[in-house]
Amino acid sequence: MRRQGWKGQPLSNLLAKFGIGIALVVEIILFSILSPYFFSSDNILNVTLQASITAIIAVGMTFVILTSGIDLSVGALVAFTGVVVTSLLKLPLSFPVLFPLAALAGILIGMMSGAFAGMFVTRFNITPFIVTLALMTIWRGAAYLYTDGRPVWGLPDQFSFLGSGRLAGVPVPTILMVLIYAAAYVALNKTTFGRYVYAVGGNKEAARLAGINTNRILLSVYMLCGGLASLSGLLLASRMNSGQPNSGLMYELDVIAAVVVGGTSLFGGRGSIIGTFMGAMLIGILRNGLNLLNVNSYIQQVVVGVVILLSVLMDRRRTS
């Protein structure tokens, strides 16, 4: 006998369907009990601020993974974009003129990197894993080369607003993150582009024979992912008020973890942007809560790994 839950559905189905949401609620309740400070508006905003960098990249990664691809270059792009933008900001021009140009240049770097990856994937039929692995080491190396291994310091004060400023008490990166998730939700669920992304990930050849320009879709998702990685690089540089060539290390794995925990299939064609948001928050809250409880950072890593495994196991039950 299977236990019956809400509306007569088996409990296991319900758990699978809303599993990530339930996990998130349980997590929040648990930390609220364990730490009185956890459920304060200050801390909640703090969590969103901390999670925003990887959460924004996770949007692009969701599109890429939905097409059954992967992008390992995002962490290195964060670093390379950061050092390039910060070095541009040191040019002798007034900040209001300089900043838009530097920011634009930074985001273009990511989009061009994505276009490059997309071209290798579509034209030369090389697996995304290999292409973006190569780009990862290229951009990381480029970041060190560009600054000779040293951080870029001495930036205009106004620059820090982007990463550390607040509007009506809400951190700017949090606002950006929410806007980007809203836009991505619409793009994925309400537009022809989003539908084609799912179709290409579900069955590329069938999608092509249905008249979808699959190459264009693939190129677009890699450009989107690269662009968002660079935007995050910009935010991170602003928060640190410097360009660090070693920033964004291992971000690609945090980002992929958020997407996968959110229920998006690595085989493509299945997943959602809301799932990714909850995945990113689940991991972000976990780190924040464990920090508040003074849990040793080595143990934290183990716990995060266990949570990833559990969530994938849950996803497995849903699809099988």
Binding site: K190, T191, R195, G202, N203, R208, A210, N213, G269
Partner: protein
Amino acid sequence: MQQIRKEYPGVLALDDVNFGLQPGEIHCLLGENGAGKSTLMKVLSGALRKDFGTIRINGEEADIQSPADAQRYGIGMIYQDIKLVPELSVAENILLGNEPKKKNSPFIDFKKMHEIAREVIGQLGEEIDTRSIVSDLSIAHRQLVEIAKALSKKLKVLALDEPSAALTGRELKNLFKVLRKLRSDGVGIIYISHRLEEIFEIGDRVTILRDGKFVQTAPIAEVDRRGLVRWMVGRELENEYPKISLTRGEEILGVENLSAGMLKEINLSVCRGEIFGIAGLVGAGRSELARVIFGADEKDEGKIFHEGNEIHPRSPREAIDLGIGLLTEDRNLYGLIMQMNVRENITLSNLRAVASGGLIQRSKEEGIANKFRDDLRIKTPGIEQEVDHLSGGNRQKVVLARWLFTKSKLLIFDEPTAGIDVGVKFEIYNLMNNLAKEGIGVIVISSDLPELLGICDRIAVMCEGRITGILPRQEATQEAVMTLATSRMEGAAAV
């Protein structure tokens, strides 16, 4: 082999089939696609288990449960697709699993291995360097390596499933030489082929299967080509094909001297309001032709006309925009997006029609999906059902709905009724009739010959990448089509 029976869910693949093989005989096995030839051979070689019947070897009942059992009885099988390890050498392949070892050690005695391999290949009267890597060999030589591999295991029975499919004339002659030599050594050989000429050239006796049933065994000397074809296609047409008389309109598709890959000098013309069939054996180039017209593959030479204007479709999108639709063979692999639901699959090719400014109008989309579900009577709990959960016939209807929604003026159906049960087949034939009546050009590619004869106004027959004839309905008989379908094959004789 007596009273062999093999059942798949819903299909009786072999129904009390009898088959006898003498030592030193080449026994040909004939039948249409799906007649049960390969299934029978798989039962013999242990790849499939029979449900009923007995297999006797030299008079004694043989218990064959696995390929290893079959090997012990001296039964060797060469499949259509060659099963060698391409990265290994000829000798390593021949002795795979039986490598000679150096005395009391786990190490392979390579010297001995090459000696044995050379000897086996020598028996075939061929010279192949046993050190060459298999992937460097020609198809013909790979096949010989397969035979050598089978021979290295002291063979009594050798079965070959369409070995000639990839061979050229000279290579085939060599293969026949080898087979004759094996026959004179007392090996019993079972030879499966679609090419009647080969059967007359190499066979001693022939057995014909049809729809999983035994039809006839006869000495080759006592049969003629006509007789074989009649036995193969046999049955009379029952009234399972609704046919209405149609008025042909002007030309909607013209193909002139088209060459692309295996396709050579294709010429045809399809009109509005007709059902145009394309017949041929598997591998004759029918699907390839459809893909070129649909822009999925590129053409090398020749012209394609659509409503009198020359077109150059470079992608399916361009073809779709011109009003051409293709219901692909294997709808699960090339037609549907399995993770998507009925609604999403129906609107996929014409999503722009339910969107404005890139935003999908959900209510409009649902309206379209519901309309087609009702029109085509797609059996589904709802349009939000994933197509994965639908039956084959209903999946095909979803694909059809997609193309109806693109308002195609020319629809190509590639094996539209494969894996679909009789009731839904009938519905699909009626839908084709209605489309043709509305002035749409309908092309049907099918391996089910009675189906083509039943529903088409004209039938083009393809053989080895060429159109060997176009028959109007009145002249299209199973014999005529089969003759054209094999007419270009090695040594084809006029009937």
